[in-house]
C-alpha cells in the first residue's frame, strides 16, 4: 500500500468493505439475471432467509458463531505473521477433543462436562496447530504448506476414526452415538423460554457467548498484554523482535497454539450446540470461511464479529434462497459467497486508490 492510499478510519473500516460488498452483490445480481431470475427478488429472499424470522436469525447467529472462532484463529496467527490455512483441520480435530469428553462424561452434570469439553476441544485444536507451528519455527517449513497438509491428514484421521473406531455399533453412517444429556450446549431459545420470552427454536446456543468472550480475550491479549505485544512485533518485524529479546521461534509456536485452540472451539458450537455427535466433515468449510472473515474484519475482533455476521447471513440466507428459487441451486449460493470473499478479501484494494484520491483533502491534491 502506498502511503498516499491511506484512508481515514471510517472509510477504511466502514466504507471500503461496504463498497466491496456492493460490487460482489452487483456481479452476483448480474449472474442471477443471466439464469433468468430476478436479482432483486433473490436478494430479498436472501435477506428474509437470514433475518426475516426468529428461527432464521437464530440460524444466522449460529453460523456466525462458527466463523467468529475460525476468523479469530486466522487473525491471531496473522498478527504473528503466519497465514494459518489449517483452521478447517484444527476445528475438525478439536471436534475429536470435544466429542471424546462428551461421549465419556455425557451423563454427568453440564457444569462439569461443558468446561471440560471446551478445554479438551481447545487442547486438541491447539495440538494440531502446534505441529505446523513447530515445523515452521524449528525447521523452516512454510506454514501455508504444512497447515494445508495438516487439513488432509486431519480429514483422513477423522474418517478412519469415525469409520473404524468411534462409529456407533450396528449402523452404516460413520457417526458416533449421540452425546449424553449433560453434553448439550444450552440453546438460547430454551434459556429465553425459562425467563418467559418465547423464541423460535434454532441451534443458536450458548457457544455464541463463548465466541464473544473469545473476541474480548483475543483483543485484550493482542493489544493489552506483553505477550500480545511480543507476538505483534514478531509478525511485523522478526528482526526487531530478535533485537528486542523476543524469540520469534517461541512466539510462532505460541501463536499457532492459540490459533488452533480458537479453531477447536468451533466444535463446541457445532457438536455440542447442534449435532450432538461427531460426524464426518462437520466443520463444512467454516475453517476456510474464517480466512475471508479475518481478511474482511481486518484481523480485529470487532471487524471479525461484523464479518462473521455477514457470512452467517450469507450462509443462512443462501440456503433459504436455494429452497425457494427453482433455478438457484446450492452452487449459485456458493458463487455469491465466493464473490463476496473475492471482493472483500483478495480484491480488497481494487477500490482503495480511487477512494483515497476522492477523499484526499483538497490542499494535498496535486494541482492539475
Amino acid at each position: 500500500m502506498k502511503p498516499a492510499d491511506k484512508l481515514p478510519r471510517w472509510a477504511e473500516f466502514g466504507l471500503l468493505p461496504a463498497i466491496n460488498l456492493c460490487a460482489a452483490l452487483l456481479i452476483s445480481g448480474a449472474v442471477i439475471r443471466l439464469i433468468g431470475e430476478s436479482p432483486w427478488a433473490a436478494f430479498k429472499l436472501m435477506a428474509a432467509g437470514a433475518f426475516g424470522a426468529q428461527d432464521s436469525i437464530g440460524y444466522t447467529l449460529f453460523y456466525a458463531t462458527d466463523f467468529v472462532f475460525t476468523g479469530l484463529a486466522v487473525a491471531v496467527a496473522f498478527h504473528a505473521g503466519l497465514f494459518n490455512i489449517g483452521g478447517e483441520g484444527q476445528a475438525y480435530v478439536g471436534g475429536l477433543g470435544v466429542g471424546l469428553v462428551c461421549l465419556a462424561f455425557g451423563s454427568c452434570s453440564p457444569w462439569l462436562v461443558i468446561p471440560l469439553a471446551i478445554a479438551s476441544g481447545c487442547a486438541f485444536g491447539a495440538a494440531w496447530a502446534f505441529v505446523p507451528g513447530w515445523l515452521q519455527a524449528r525447521r523452516g517449513s512454510h506454514i501455508v504448506i504444512t497447515t494445508i497438509m495438516a487439513n488432509f491428514i486431519a480429514s483422513a484421521l477423522m474418517t478412519y476414526l469415525l469409520v473404524n473406531v468411534l462409529i456407533k455399533p450396528g449402523q452404516q453412517s460413520p457417526e458416533t452415538r449421540e452425546f449424553g444429556p449433560g453434553a448439550a450446549m444450552p440453546p438460547v431459545h430454551e434459556l429465553l423460554a425459562r425467563i418467559g420470552i418465547s423464541f423460535a427454536p434454532s441451534p443458536f446456543n450458548m457457544a455464541s457467548l463463548l465466541a464473544l468472550v473469545a473476541c474480548a480475550l483475543v483483543w485484550a491479549f493482542l493489544w493489552r498484554t506483553r505477550w500480545g505485544y511480543a507476538l505483534r512485533v514478531v509478525g511485523q518485524n522478526p528482526q526487531a523482535a530478535v533485537y528486542a529479546g523476543i524469540s520469534p521461534e517461541r512466539t510462532i509456536m505460541v501463536a499457532m497454539t492459540i490459533s488452533g485452540g480458537l479453531a477447536g472451539c468451533l466444535a463446541v458450537n457445532e457438536l455440542m450446540g447442534s449435532q450432538h455427535r461427531i460426524l464426518l466433515d462437520f466443520p463444512g468449510g467454516a475453517g476456510f470461511v474464517g480466512i475471508a472473515v479475518a481478511l474482511m474484519g481486518r484481523n480485529h475482533p470487532v471487524g471479525i464479529l461484523a464479518a462473521s455476521l455477514l457470512f452467517g447471513a450469507l450462509y443462512q440466507g443462501g440456503s433459504q434462497l436455494s429452497f425457494d428459487m427453482p433455478h438457484v441451486n446450492r452452487d449459485m449460493v456458493i458463487l455469491i459467497q465466493g464473490l463476496v470473499i473475492l471482493f472483500c478479501g483478495a480484491l480488497e484494494n481494487v477500490f482503495r486508490a480511487p477512494l483515497a484520491a476522492l477523499l484526499r483533502p483538497r490542499a494535498a491534491r496535486p494541482s492539475p
Binding site: 498516499a4 493489552r224 498484554t225 506483553r226 505483534r232 526487531a240 528486542a244 484526499r360
Partner: protein
C-alpha cells in the same frame, strides 16, 4: 579531502545543457517533495546535487529516471522536451542511473547483468555476443575493466559498482546519475571512482552526483546545486564555495561540523573482548579474533568499510549473534558463554542502538510509544503481571520526546510519520534512558539530518562524560574521527589497527581500512 588536482576540473566553458529540469513539482499526499525545481546540467560536466535526507534530491532523480511522474514541470534532454513516465523512457533518452543499492541479479554473470533490459531479441546468444565485444571496447575506452563471466554477487562492491556504470553505458547513456555512490567504498576506492567519473566527463558524458557528503562535492564536481525542503536553495560553481558554506545552505543555518567535546577521562575497564570470533550461517568467519577493551568514560569508534565484520562484531556484543569463539567479559562474567540474547545483555547494562533502524530498531507499523518500549516491554514500569500499562507507556514516551527534542511530540503517532532524525532520537532515548553502563551504537546518524546529527552526537558525548562506555560503529569517517577518543579499524574481520582519536587522519585510517582488502579495489 582537498580538491583533486586541477586537471580533474572541467576544461573550458561549458557547452549547452545536457539535462534541463523546469519547474518540477511533486507531492506525495501531504508531503511536498519537490517544489517547482529547476535545474540545468551542462553537457560534459560533473554536477553535484547535495542536500539533507528528505530534501527531495532522490525524488527529483527518481522523476528523471522515470520511477515517479512529476505532477508538473518538464524535462529536456539536449534542449528537446522528453516525456518520462517509466525507466524505459529515460533509458531511451540516454539517461542511466547507478542506484545506491545496486540493482544486480547476484546469481547472473556480469555479462548477463549488463545485457539485462537490452537483450536484443528472444534468443540470448547473439545479444550476449555483441555485448561482449561492445563491452570490451567500452571497458578499454573508460578504463572500466570487469571480468564479464564472473558471478556478479561474488565481486567486491567497488567492482559491482563498475558493472552498474558499464551497464548504463552499454544502454547508451549520455547522462549518468549516481546516487550516493561512495557509501560502500573505502576512501581509496572512492578516489578511483572519481577518477573514472572525470574520465567519463572528459569523454563528453554528463555526470550527476547525488550525495550528502560535502567533501565529495568539493573533490569532483564542477557545479553544485543545494536542495532544502524540496526546493533548490543555491547553485554555484564548486570552486566558488566552501564546505562550510554548503553545509549552511543545506541546513539553513550555521552548523558545527565538528563535535565539541572535552578530553576523555577514561576510568576503569568495563568491557573486555578477547579473541572474539563470529561465524555466519554458512560457517564463514566474519570476525576473526578481535580483542579490545572498553573503559568507563570513553568513546571507542570502529572504522571500516561496511561489510568488514563491524556489524557482526556489534551484534555479537549485543547478544543478537552467538560468538563461535573468544570471550566477552563484563564485570568478571563471560557473556560469550552461557545465556545469550538481548534480555540478558540488557540486564547486564548493555544497551544497543542497531545499525539499521528500520530493519531492526523499530517496528514500522507501530506507534512511537510502542516503539519506545521495544526490548523493555517486559519491565515492571511498563506492565503489571503481563498487562501493559498504557498510561505509563504513553507518559514515558512523552517524557523521552520532551528530553530528546523529538518532533512532533505525539506518542500515538506511527513511527514512520517521524523523520529519520526524530526516529533515531527516540531510539537513542530508549536505549540511554534505561541507564546502561555500556552503549553500543551502530551508524548513529544514518539517514539523519544535520540538525539531529549535532543533537545525537552531543547526547553520546554526554553519556561518556557521565562515566559510561560507548562503542560507535560508523562508515562515516568524519563521524568516527569527530566522536571517538580511540579508533579501532576493522578490515576483513580483524582489528587491523588502533589510533588515538586526536591523532587520527583520514589518510591513516583509509590506509588501514584498505590494508587487507587492497587487492579488491584494483
Amino acid at each position: 579531502m582537498e580538491p583533486e588536482s586541477p586537471a580533474l576540473q572541467a576544461p573550458g566553458g561549458p557547452p549547452g545543457p545536457a539535462l534541463e529540469l523546469c519547474g518540477i513539482d511533486k507531492r506525495f499526499g501531504a508531503v511536498h517533495a519537490n517544489r517547482s525545481v529547476s535545474l540545468a546540467v551542462s553537457k560534459g560536466s560533473i554536477h553535484g546535487l547535495i542536500g539533507e535526507n528528505g530534501a527531495g534530491k532522490s525524488t527529483l532523480m527518481n522523476i528523471v529516471y522515470g520511477f515517479h511522474r512529476a505532477d508538473a514541470g518538464e524535462i529536456r534532454v539536449n534542449g528537446r522536451r522528453v516525456e518520462i513516465g517509466r525507466p524505459r523512457d529515460s533509458i531511451e533518452a540516454g539517461i542511466g542511473m547507478v542506484h545506491q543499492h545496486f540493482m544486480l541479479v547476484e546469481r547472473f554473470t556480469v555479462l548477463e547483468n549488463i545485457v539485462l533490459g537490452a537483450e536484443g531479441g528472444a534468443m540470448l546468444g547473439r545479444g550476449l555476443g555483441e555485448a561482449r565485444s561492445g563491452l570490451g571496447r567500452l571497458g578499454r575506452k573508460y578504463g572500466l575493466d570487469v571480468p564479464l563471466d564472473a558471478e556478479a554477487g561474488h565481486l567486491p562492491v567497488g567492482m559491482q559498482q563498475r558493472v552498474e556504470i558499464l551497464k548504463a553505458l552499454h544502454h547508451r547513456a549520455e547522462i549518468l546519475i549516481l546516487d550516493e555512490p561512495t557509501a560502500v567504498l573505502t576512501p581509496a576506492e572512492a578516489d578511483q571512482l572519481f577518477r573514472m567519473l572525470a574520465l567519463l566527463r572528459d569523454q563528453g558524458k554528463t555526470v550527476i552526483l547525488v550525495t550528502h557528503k560535502l567533501r565529495e562535492i568539493m573533490a569532483i564536481t564542477d557545479r553544485v546545486t543545494v536542495m532544502r525542503q524540496g526546493s533548490v536553495v543555491h547553485e554555484t560553481a564548486t570552486r566558488d564555495t566552501s564546505p562550510k558554506a554548503l553545509a549552511e545552505q543545506m541546513v539553513g543555518r550555521a552548523v558545527l561540523l565538528k563535535v565539541e567535546k572535552a578530553p576523555a577521562k577514561p576510568g576503569a575497564g568495563l568491557l573486555e573482548v578477547r579473541n572474539l570470533e563470529v561465524r555466519d550461517r554458512l560457517g564463514v568467519p566474519r570476525v576473526k579474533g578481535a580483542s579490545f577493551s572498553l573503559r568507563a568514560g570513553e568513546i571507542v569508534g570502529v572504522a571500516g568499510v561496511s561489510g568488514n565484520g563491524q556489524s557482526e562484531l556489534i551484534e555479537a556484543l549485543a547478544g543478537i549473534r552467538v560468538p563461535t569463539g573468544g570471550s566477552i567479559l563484563l564485570g568478571g562474567q563471560d557473556l560469550a558463554r552461557g545465556s545469550t540474547g538481548l534480555n540478558d545483555r540488557r540486564s547486564h547494562g548493555i544497551a544497543h542502538v542497531p545499525e539499521d533502524r528500520l530493519r531492526m530498531g523499530v517496528v514500522a507499523s507501530f506507534s512511537a510509544e510502542d516503539n519506545a518500549i521495544l526490548g523493555y516491554h517486559a519491565r515492571q514500569r511498563f506492565n503489571r503481571s503481563g498487562f501493559m500499562r498504557r498510561r505509563a507507556i504513553r507518559e514515558d514516551c512523552a517524557e523521552k520526546m520532551a528530553s530528546y527534542d523529538v518532533r512532533p511530540p505525539s506518542p500515538s503517532l506511527r513511527i514512520t510519520a517521524f523523520s529519520g532524525g526524530n526516529q533515531q532520537k527516540l531510539v537513542l532515548a530508549r536505549e540511554i534512558d534505561c541507564g546502561p553502563s555500556v552503549l553500543i551504537v551502530g551508524q548513529p546518524t544514518r539517514g539523519v539530518d544535520i540538525g539531529a546529527i549535532e543533537f545525537i552526537h552531543r547526547r553520546i558525548v554526554a553519556l561518556r562524560d557521565s562515566g559510561k562506555a560507548v562503542l560507535v560503529v560508523s562508515v562515516e569517517l568524519d563521524e568516527i574521527m569527530g566522536l571517538s577518543d580511540r579508533i579501532l579499524v576493522m578490515a576483513g574481520g580483524e582489528i587491523v589497527g588502533e589510533v588515538p582519536g586526536s591523532e587520527a587522519t583520514e589518510e591513516a585510517l583509509g590506509l588501514l581500512m584498505a590494508g587487507v582488502k587492497g587487492d579488491a579495489s584494483r
